[in-house]
């Protein structure tokens, strides 16, 4: 986070570098069930982010000693392809990827009914094919769809989006340049129906008041993304096996 006066991130009309308003999301595209071998999968394009998520499980815990007697172990790997960023990234997991794997897991676990599957594992894999700021949020949104696609019972879907600050203004959904040149980034994951936060991180500089604004902006955006997730799930089930679109509904009713 650095405030670089040479770069103008908001123009005279109050529009951002990519033409968005301050509270506007980037274009988002979601697709469910696109992999053959995974039990569930989803693909998301959020701005220029391109991310695949897949779920395997519930399956037998391996090695056995990691199993828990009263619930499934949820495992999560967030990983970036070497070609996903400007400078080639080593495929070995970085400290950043290890941290994100943890907070993403913790953002999804509250929504998963892991108590239904003692001694099993539910494995979530997120592969960032192209990164453009906000990969953890887009990854959570996609992983949530992949979990639903795998038929894992969930209390509800999880949707995620960041807010932040550039040139003194609170804005929604930072792009790469806004993340690098801006003043704050606040990724948030929401369980929209319960209106509870399962991931929140921040870096940069925000006053108490700015923080409250940014939090409201991001939770509102999560609710919009949640609607898109529902559409994506419906679309998949319309196409793939007509008549079964109420599967996700069921999962929610159970919750």
């Amino acid at each position: 986070m650095r405030n670089d006066p040479a770069v103008k991130l908001i123009d005279s009309k109050g529009l951002r570098v990519d033409g968005r308003r301050l509270d506007e999301l980037r274009p988002i595209k979601m697709e469910v069930g696109i992999l053959d071998k995974a039990n569930g999968s989803a693909y998301i394009e959020h701005g220029k982010n391109k991310i695949l998520a897949a779920v395997y499980g519930p399956r037998e815990a391996h090695p056995k000693h990691i199993a828990l007697a009263d619930r499934a172990v949820v495992r999560c790997r967030y990983h970036m392809a070497p070609f996903s960023v400007d400078e080639r990234k080593s495929p070995a997991p970085s400290r950043r990827e290890l941290e994100l794997s943890k907070v993403i897991r913790e953002s999804l676990e509250p929504a998963i009914m892991s108590e239904y599957f003692p001694r099993a594992t539910i494995d979530i894999f997120i592969e960032v094919l192209q990164a453009d700021a906000g990969t953890r949020c887009a990854g959570i949104t996609a992983a949530s769809l992949a979990l639903a696609d795998a038929g894992i019972p969930m209390r509800e879907l999880v949707a995620a989006c960041a807010a932040g600050k550039i040139e003194g203004k609170v804005i929604l959904d930072l792009s790469d340049i806004e993340d690098k040149k801006g003043e704050a980034d606040l990724p948030v994951a929401l369980l929209p129906k319960s209106n509870v936060i399962s991931l929140i991180q921040m870096d940069g500089s925000l006053s108490d008041e700015e923080f409250r604004q940014a939090l409201d902006l991001s939770t509102d955006a999560c609710r919009k993304i949640y609607e898109m997730q529902r559409e994506a799930l419906k679309l998949k089930y319309h196409i793939v096996r007509d008549g079964t679109e109420d599967k996700e509904e069921m999962a929610e009713v159970k919750a």
């Binding site: 986070m1 990691i66 828990l68 619930r71 499934a72 172990v73 949820v74 495992r75 999560c76 790997r77 400290r95 950043r96 290890l98 941290e99 794997s101 943890k102 907070v103 993403i104 897991r105 913790e106 676990e109 509250p110 892991s114 594992t121 494995d123 606040l186 369980l191 319960s194 209106n195 509870v196 936060i197 399962s198 991931l199 929140i200 991180q201 921040m202 870096d203 940069g204 500089s205 925000l206 006053s207 108490d208 923080f211 409250r212 939090l215 409201d216 939770t219």
Partner: protein, 271 residues
């Protein structure tokens, strides 16, 4: 891969005791919900380090040491020194810590401490440039957890801050990119003093500065790091539970005021 953690089994009865107290507005160690445990800071205990601080937060003990060395800058910040924060959960500190490379909890702690220092611009890294693109000073902050009785992030960040503000490096001049040391010692170029406070939610109630017994029954935690100007500079939620947006806002406001006291306490230690 990150995996749901196996907690060491805590007797149900013991868990119930902790929760029952919380629900009555009390705590196992007789504090109020928003009270911090007694904090003691000893500076300069490791003379071979450029700076060091030993923090006792209740029974939690953390030692941080600073080493200043020279190295090559990152290509995207050729005129800035390098800050590296590393954390070791040495197996001295807890029956649950194992020897080996840092696990995800240790990495998360180091990255949250790092974020507070970096995002508050606590160190003036431009002043640590020797020869742009070629040679800069590297500031290593090594956090050593020695006794784990809960709330390691706050203890570690305060030890790191204490070590940084009391650190001395050799004074230097640069002539045509050539580094020359002088005889006297100077402090690090510090611009800000980030302090985190961590709150946890236990059965719907928010309490500050959890001890280990409380962490074992918590639903989730939220760490908020604020700077000398009351700005929030870093946040991190942990754990398998959830917060309402109002709870988060309340925790942020509380953290801002609580950090002021802690910051003052740390800075008062430095002459």
């Amino acid at each position: 891969m990150s995996a749901t953690q196996q907690f060491s089994p805590v007797a149900k009865l013991e868990q119930k005791t902790v929760v029952d107290l919380i629900l009555k507005g009390k705590r196992v160690d007789e504090r109020g919900p928003l009270d911090y445990r007694p904090l003691t800071i000893m500076l300069g205990t490791v003379e071979k380090a450029n700076g060091s601080a030993y923090v006792y937060l209740g029974k939690t003990k953390v030692l941080a040491g600073i080493k200043v060395e020279t190295g090559t800058p990152f290509p995207d910040t050729p005129d800035e020194g390098i800050l590296t924060v590393n954390s070791e959960f040495v197996p001295l500190a807890s029956p649950t810590f194992e020897a080996g490379p840092p696990n995800e909890n240790s990495i998360e702690l180091a990255r949250v401490v790092d974020r507070g220092i970096r995002e508050s611009k606590a160190i003036d890294l431009k002043k640590l440039c020797i020869d742009p693109g070629k040679k800069v000073f590297m500031v290593f902050v090594d956090v050593y957890v020695l006794d784990h009785d809960g709330n390691l992030i706050d203890a570690a960040a305060m030890a790191a801050l204490g070590a940084l503000v009391s650190a001395k490096m050799r004074a230097f001049e640069v002539h045509n990119g050539e580094l020359k040391y002088k005889d006297e010692k100077i402090p690090l170029p510090m611009l800000n003093y980030p302090v985190p406070t961590t709150s946890v939610k236990i059965d719907g109630t928010i309490v500050l500065d959890p001890c280990l017994e409380e962490e074992q029954v918590m639903s989730c935690r939220l760490t908020v790091t604020t700077d000398k100007d009351d700005k929030v500079c870093a946040m991190q939620k942990g754990g398998l539970g959830v917060f309402t947006p109002d709870e988060v806002k309340q925790i942020v406001s509380t953290s801002i005021s609580k950090s002021r006291d802690l910051r003052e306490k740390i800075l008062s230690k430095v002459k």
